[in-house]
Symmetry: C2
Subunit: 444 residues, 2 copies
């Protein structure tokens, strides 16, 4: 039995297994036997789900749960248009990128059009981890450097090379000798008198200097453009620009990790980097790209891809296969046809305003922030000292689960409620969440 | 335009684009624009496919091609049972491993049963690259070492860490400073008087000693158990045993890369390592696991997973999700219900005997080898000197494509025909292939 993971918010503690209903106990024991200790479950009382539709998930007893967490099934659970695209293509043909296929070309063209950066090209992988791993290979090859700069609590994936760029794993995973961390661009705990942009630019410049002092040429500044695992920091728009200029001046590339922020989630823009008015050299993407189908990839400047591709072939067996491209294309179509970016923008603003209103009633809420449908609600024990209310966040998450509303917590202390509803999430759903959160906070 | 890739057998040369039909030219130009230079196409005249069924693929003109190459759609293209499992689960629920789900537990149990190594546990990824990358993380964590031993022309994947263990990429990708290569266990060009097992054991021992001499503790011996990119070396059964003992004696682990050999392909056994009577500490798997759906993973000794999982959490967003597990379960069911391992065994032997008969007629064939449905036919310019007939292999592959039969070439010189039919491949299909190959060789 491993102890509850102190670095992971909302982890089930296997030590409490005996308190669960017999059916769940039995399933968890089988799971522990077959899958082992690296796997974690959510919640004090893990959730056994059987069905999903739109913004709702249903458990084994048929009870509905409002999903304010799962940003992978982003256009809605089991969206029929995506399911049909997958089923139809799987029944027709599923090969790979070494035969000609119109689907991958059509999809790549449509995907690249959303970036509005002519000259970028696409490469497909199956996971965001693979996309970031490949982005680092491209950056090293192009710059001749190895140095990578990430934020203090960043998460970029699970391959050896990107796990070594992911301080969010904590002490169990060593950062690479080529990796430097910079402080989170924290708009809530920032040093007085310094604005976020000035400080973040300065911190990236200092990290560049430190890499160079150690004989390491900077290859890339790699950031999640909503800084989600750092605690969700979106504002002020534009604060990234100085840091991007700094890495470019040092000969490195700017890699925008859009695995969390991309595909219309930030509401005002299709991609998170667009909120900041910057031009990434490489954009990586994943989670919502296939609405749950394993599809991920990157877009990069053609000269960067040329420099790599002229020396190295890249073949990802399943990456960009006909079924994956059909899923990806259906997701882009649904986002457009259903006006989901607009909904993330306006309903996201409505939800954020509702959370800010709750902050007026409940001292526990220290800050409400984020963009579109990626919002963070930071809980603190006192508003002056801003001490993270980690235990309270866990209680709130589990109390909402009892009320059949799913969300989680993030940030280095796990005290920031993380809200990532599906893009069709409507005002009525926001009201359900706000009422439940109000009641849970009042009942403390 | 990049030159044809000298390290990749059967690559399309973009310099010949102008000679293709207008429709293919236009699609390839769009593809080059959207996907860039790291992508490669097969064949002098790339193939544009629209449909697949069983062992057949169909091009845009409706012409059928006998598929003797694609080992991913291993139970047959668009197998209805697999397609239905994917479609049904995608329409019902697709979440992730942090909620309870019976599907992943049922699948893991059934998968582990095929290994017949009680105590091994499963972890799921989306690609074989991710599986090997994770296996190396497990091995380093468990042994405290970094040293990895691979064969001279091995291929283990595309993440940074496994590409650095993949000499098959050639000069464009540097091997890691922690990586040592050993000569291919070559039963065809082996040194006279030494058997394959003795030599391979000795070579692995020497690599271990070299790692240690450089202060590097051995973490793992990592081999594709059919040595497919090295040129397909399967015999004699058991030749791996001494090398496995050697890495264990040095405190390292044996990782069996079953991405090519696994899931009944070798005919006599479900897994390639079983032919050698050895017990891997970690088994990695991929390609045919979901019949094209992006599913991969590993099985490892529980103590290795415990040592990792107690310090590190591993969450692969899509890995082991309900749809992936449904696909994987359907593949296991089809292999069993349709007797596909038996078919690979007996029809593979029939095909191999037919190829050996062709070797009696055609001087170009220097050697026929392999197991079950993974066969290699090595073409040489002269049987005494065994000079690789690289250009002839390319001509044969392209001439067979003209006769609508698909296969490719492998090995460091690209002179070894690589036959990997789908598991339902029958005698009638073998006869079609053998007749066509006979005619192509006679027409030279």
């Amino acid at each position: 039995m491993n102890p509850p993971d102190q670095r992971m918010a909302n982890a089930f503690d296997p030590g409490t297994l005996a308190s669960l209903p017999a059916r769940e106990q039995a399933l968890i024991r089988r799971r522990q036997q077959a899958l082992g200790q690296a796997y974690r479950l959510f919640y004090q009382q893990p959730l056994h789900l059987l069905r999903g539709e739109g913004v709702w998930l249903y458990d084994a007893a048929g009870q509905p749960y409002l999903d304010v967490y799962n940003n992978v099934a982003s256009v809605g659970h089991s969206h029929p248009q995506v399911v049909q695209a997958i089923a139809r293509q799987a029944a027709t043909l599923n090969t790979h990128t070494r035969y000609l296929d119109e689907g991958i070309v059509d999809y790549a063209e449509r995907l690249l059009a959303t970036l509005a950066m002519p000259g970028h090209q696409a490469m497909f992988t199956c996971t965001g981890s693979e996309a970031n791993d490949l982005a680092l290979r491209l950056a090293s090859n192009f710059t001749g450097g190895q140095g990578v700069i990430v934020t203090a609590h960043a998460y970029h994936g699970v391959t050896s090379s990107v796990a070594a760029c992911s301080p969010a794993f904590g002490e169990g995973v060593a950062l690479g000798p080529n990796v430097r961390t910079v402080p989170t661009p924290d708009s809530y705990r920032g040093v007085a008198g310094e604005d976020v942009a000035t400080r973040f630019t300065h911190d990236v410049q200092a990290a560049i200097a430190d890499l160079q002092r150690h004989g390491l040429r900077p290859a890339a500044l790699l950031v999640d453009t909503l800084f989600t695992s750092d605690g969700v920091f979106a504002d002020p728009p534009g604060f990234l620009a100085g840091a991007v200029d700094a890495i470019h001046a040092a000969g490195g590339l700017f890699i925008a990790d859009e695995v969390q922020a991309g595909f219309a989630r930030s509401g005002s823009h299709f991609w998170g980097f667009q909120r900041h008015g910057v031009q990434p050299d490489i954009v990586t993407m994943g989670k919502p790209m296939g609405n749950g189908h394993p599809l991920a990839g990157l877009a990069a400047r053609a000269d960067i891809i040329d420099a790599f591709g002229s020396r190295v072939r890249y073949f990802n067996t399943f990456g960009g296969n006909p079924v994956s491209c059909a899923a990806g294309m259906a997701v882009l179509e649904v986002i457009e046809q259903e006006g989901l970016q607009h909904n993330a923008h306006v309903t996201g603003a409505y939800l954020k305003a509702g959370l800010q209103a709750l902050a007026g009633k409940h001292e526990l809420i220290g800050d409400v922030r984020g963009a579109g449908f990626f919002l963070g609600v930071e809980l603190v024990n006192d508003r002056q000292g801003k001490q993270p209310a980690t235990a309270a966040a866990s209680r709130v998450v589990n109390a909402l689960r009892e009320r059949r509303i799913l969300l989680s917590a993030t940030g280095p202390a796990g005290n920031i409620l993380k809200l990532r509803p599906q893009l069709p999430f409507a005002r009525e759903h926001a009201d359900l969440l706000l009422d439940a959160l109000d009641a849970v906070l009042a009942a403390r």
